[in-house]
């Protein structure tokens, strides 16, 4: 039997239920992530991929369904309690770090994830040195600027630090929410490399949501395509890599299934190519 890191059981998230503007953001989703696997979720706007992340992280109360983490049911855990086990990198680089606190202080906060916070010194000499070492692995020269307020750094630097913070204490599940979407291509590439390194080095169970076909093609060992709140395709990409054309074909099929008109398909194409 495979070792399951995350399990969703018939998870639904419905907004404005019973009104004309009802939206089924998630429609009875069943999903299992094996421990140590890297899954990429692809989907257009409104396909439900962000809702999926929120359902897992606990940002919203589910309409129905259950969530299990490493065999434990966490459906009713609030966000900050699940955060002891789940770490996240957000799309907006400003979300994952506290701007007024220094680099060292932000890292110190992350290094206590899941541990009781009491009156111990947050930045004793030992911990400071350890933090400095891990920052130097980013190769951005930030280890010399540990006392700089994080708000003064660029989006790419902040995102790299958020990633470091997310993996500092080994999480049971790492959630990446389009975490390169707000960066310029060069920084995005850098963050993707750091992501790959962190995920493979520690064998983290990872779920990454992305907008980018490129990332969908090149990353992960499993690809899930979301459409209208459901999992439309679930592909094992660990053994056979897909091409962008394969993915475009999948989206074409979805389009036919939906009987979308030609102009909407054109819009999809423009979004994804």
């Amino acid at each position: 039997m495979p070792d399951i890191g995350l399990r969703l059981e018939s998870v639904s998230q419905v907004f404005h239920e019973g009104t004309p503007s009802e939206v089924r953001a998630l429609d009875r989703i069943d999903l299992e992530l094996e421990r140590g696997t890297f899954t990429v979720v692809l989907g257009s706007n409104g396909s439900g991929k962000t809702s999926l992340l929120n359902a897992i992280a606990g940002g919203l109360t589910l309409t129905s369904g259950r969530v299990y983490l490493q065999g434990r049911e966490v459906t009713h855990w609030p966000e900050q309690r699940r955060a002891r086990l789940i770490s996240r990198v957000f799309q907006n680089p400003f979300t994952g770090t506290a701007a007024d606190l220094s680099i060292a202080e932000n890292l110190a906060l992350a290094s206590r994830r899941g541990t009781r916070r009491w009156l111990g010194r947050a930045l004793g000499r030992d911990r400071r040195r350890r933090l400095q070492e891990s920052v130097s692995q980013l190769g951005m020269g930030l280890e010399e600027r540990l006392d700089t307020p994080i708000g003064l750094l660029s989006g790419g630097q902040r995102q790299a630090l958020t990633l470091l913070m997310a993996t500092m204490v080994r999480p049971a599940l790492l959630l990446l929410d389009e975490h390169t979407a707000a960066l310029d291509p060069r920084r995005a590439e850098q963050v993707i490399q750091l992501t790959q390194r962190a995920v493979t080095a520690d064998g983290l169970t990872t779920l990454m949501v992305t907008h980018s076909l490129m990332e969908g093609v090149h990353l992960g060992d499993r690809l899930i395509v979301m459409h209208r709140g459901r999992i439309a395709y679930d592909l094992d990409t660990g053994r056979r890599r897909l091409t962008q054309d394969d993915l475009l074909q999948l989206f074409d099929q979805l389009r036919w299934a939906d009987r979308l008109n030609e102009s909407a398909a054109e819009m999809l194409r423009r979004t994804y190519v």
Binding site: Q80, R84, T95, L109, R112, W118, L123, P149
Partner: protein, 312 residues
Amino acid sequence: MNLLIGSVTTGLILALLGLGVFISYRIYHTLDLTADGSFGAGAAVVAALLVREVHPLPATAIATLTGIIAGSFTGILHTQFFISTLLAGVLISTALYSVSLFVMGSGNVSLISAGSLMASAERLGQRLFHLPPSLTVLDSTVSGGSIATLVLMMLLVGGVALGLTFFMGTDLGLALRAAGNNPQMAKAVAIDVDRMVILALSLSNGLIALSGALFAQYEGFANIQMGIGAVVTGLANLMVGEALVGKRPIGRWIAGAVVGAVVFRLVVAAAVRAGLSPNALKLVTALLVLAVLVLPQLMRKVRPIGPVRGHA
């Protein structure tokens, strides 16, 4: 000389008020109006206990506790029942007004014949250091009591400021600051933001009530009006300190709140001596805070250059 010592002592007492406002306004980014009620309640509770001949030490401690409880109520109303901090603060503050009247029994209580921490300090000074009842400093006669009081306040406020600085550098203190700075980030590193808000407001109002309790003992009376405008006074202290001492690192910011309070008192004393009507004090305080808030924006409007710093 007496005026100088008096102003510095009052400044130190009100520095605690400034530190309280610092926690709510600068760490948690909210204007907590519970402060007015807590300051008044601190004065009222200590007065009620002192006239019943409770020792000043437990009396001051209980007054501080009143503020802590008031702050936690505001925090609970805000986090658990989703009432805005502004409204929650006004509600608790208004309720405290009646509570203060109840415990004092009337709108004004004289403490001239009651004990106080200051009187205890004077006795201690006489016993330990043979402090004379009066002495001459720089050609003017100063009472031993006022020196003892000044030293006590320096120790007390210095201790609180150091303690607060240390606290802000602990794991818990850092969590508190993160919760105020970026709640979403705080949640993501598994910090219980609601609990931090309640803790911050309790701590803040505890300091403010302590300030009120000391103020009443120093002035020798408690008045139901005492707390009115406490928030604004605290803000003024804070802003003077930020301008003079700076904001970074956090220890400097905290020291600034203390220095700012003392400087502000000295300026007020000088102004009153130069002929400013004491009735105008609150107006002047409010204008000062207003000026600090408005001036930078005015300057930007006059010369619109330079990027506006983004905030997450």
